[in-house]
């Protein structure tokens, strides 16, 4: 089984977007933590996770996102997401992650708001 997960950091004016590609599971742990630390280094008030290219999130991936929300709260940052499929939107609601992140449909919506 090949596991692939990669990220790209895009710093914008008031926010940093982390573009994610692949599956968010246990194999993504190191990459996602490292990407978030890089994003933090830009000292923007908002960090945005782009799920557009994420096809699979499992319960370990949920735990990783919980970890990122926790990190954001500790440093007073806002964590936003966009590009979630209908299914993962439902999972964000069921798990109540939706109560702790700002959810947008796509990148233009994020940029228009922030």
């Amino acid at each position: 089984m090949n596991h692939s997960f990669s990220t790209q950091i895009r710093p914008l004016e008031n926010l940093v977007i982390i573009d994610m590609l692949g599956e968010i599971d246990a194999f993504a742990d190191q990459e996602i933590q490292s990407a978030y630390s890089q994003a933090e280094s830009f000292n923007t008030p908002t960090i945005v996770l782009n799920f557009t290219q994420v096809g699979y999130i499992n319960s370990t991936g949920i735990a990783l996102i919980v970890g990122l929300i926790s990190r954001a709260r500790k440093t007073g940052r806002r964590l936003s997401v966009f590009g979630l499929s209908e299914h993962y939107l439902e999972i964000f609601r069921i798990t109540r992650l939706a109560d702790f992140v700002s959810i947008y449909s796509d990148e233009p919506s994020v940029l228009a708001e922030i």
Partner: protein, 564 residues
Amino acid sequence: MNMFTRLRKNQTDRGMPEENATPEQVSMPTQNPGRGEMVEVNIDPNDPLYAHFLKASGVVEIDKLNLDSPALHTLKEAGVRISVPLVSQGELIGVLNLSNRLSEQDYSTEDRRLLYTLSTQAAPALRVAQLARQQQVEARLRERLEQEMRVARIIQQTLLPKELPNIEGWQVAAHWQPARAVSGDFYDFITFPDGKLGVAVGDVTDKGVPAALVMATTRSILRSALERFSSPGQILAQANDLLCPDIPANMFVTCLYMIIDPATGKLIFANAGHNLPMHYELNGITELHATGMPLGLMPGMQYDEIEATLAPGEGLLLYSDGLVEAHNPKREMFGFPRLRDALSDLDVEASQSMVGELIPHLLNQLVEFTGPGWEQEDDVTLVVIERSADHAPTTITVHQSGEHHNDNSPQESNSMPNSETWQPLLEFELPSEPGNEILAMQRVADSIRELNFPEDRLERLKTAVAETTMNALEHGNKYREDLTVKIIVRATPSTLSVQITDHGGGQQIPEPEMPDLEAKLAGLQSARGWGLFLIKQMVDEMHVTTDETHHSVELIFKLSAPSP
């Protein structure tokens, strides 16, 4: 106690006490030169010679002693000239007896001093030897008694049910813990030809061997009463009448007998002074009240019969005094309120089945209460009988080890389409490697393409299959290379079943519950722990079964049902 002494006549006087003589009972050989005949001399404690020896310091001139003493007379007759009492810690433990010297010369002052010195050293040595021998004898006796008790315990265990009743839709657990090698507690299950189940629990006053003997008698009497009568009240009345003439004074037996109809959950029971059964249900804990005189106190007793019903998901705890009457180091008693609290700790609704965890939970509570080093005061017996919950929207059926079920077939449940035929869609095994849940998810999704699942339901199924497989790989098989996860997909026109089986049998199955996100975000709990919760949210039903070797989760999706 008498002191016996044995003497050999006609040889140099070297009398030594018998090895097994007690301090009060010393054998003193009297000896006469030239003849070699043994003479037993009995020195009664009332014999003045006994007191004389005890008080004497050093050599006693027997031939010059004048006492009204039968023992002295015998010694003189045997030709004893002088005796040297061996006294240790104020007790006469032996006597050295000497007749005339072979040289016919009188005993010199030096001889007497030597004998005295010898006696002062020989007495304690002899005492030590006597004590050592005594301990050996006692140890052998103890060992024999312990062996007998071990055998008694094995025999008594044969009087308890060898296996728990296996009744569809019901779960039973039992625990029997004697305070000593054997017990006065017992429990019994009787399966009747009409499918009903008889349950007896009893507690004989006292513990240990006397209680165990009465326990065995009571069990036999109950069994014989069962052959003659069918109603619990009559059975207890008959057992009482049979027991009364034979039971030792000051002993009696508390006993509860019930008959359960597994088909309806109805039960009828009578109680001879036993603890009231605790009935646990969704609304809390209640006691089923029925009282009556314990068995063996008075003949001619009548016992009322009480009826009750166990709804699905409800159960009964039957228990003996050993639990509620246990004391902690502060001499507080465990008591009924603590028992009720301990039962309430387990949320009936959340747990679904309490059978697997109730007894371990109660025993943990007992250990916590009594503290380490507790010497169990009384026998502890616990019996749990539960009617499986089978009407809940999502059913989780936990089977105790020993129950029979087919590993590879879905469990029967009211929600299952019994009248329809299952069509196999896919069966395969996966090696236990991290990440293989994605393979499982894709293969199962491919296998049901023809069923035309709506997209949203297909996504839910994929998540449920992936999460269940991941649990099987990680928790069930612990990612062991030699173990595989087996997945079977099949369907009827109305239902899709995905069964995922791993090798994690015999483990406690966690209950799916809503994770506490706030606690996780605050770092108070691990960020993980979403799997079971997610699965439960994704499926219409989830059936969990476990036995000694396998753990199996069956995911059920209603093909015609609206989205949950």
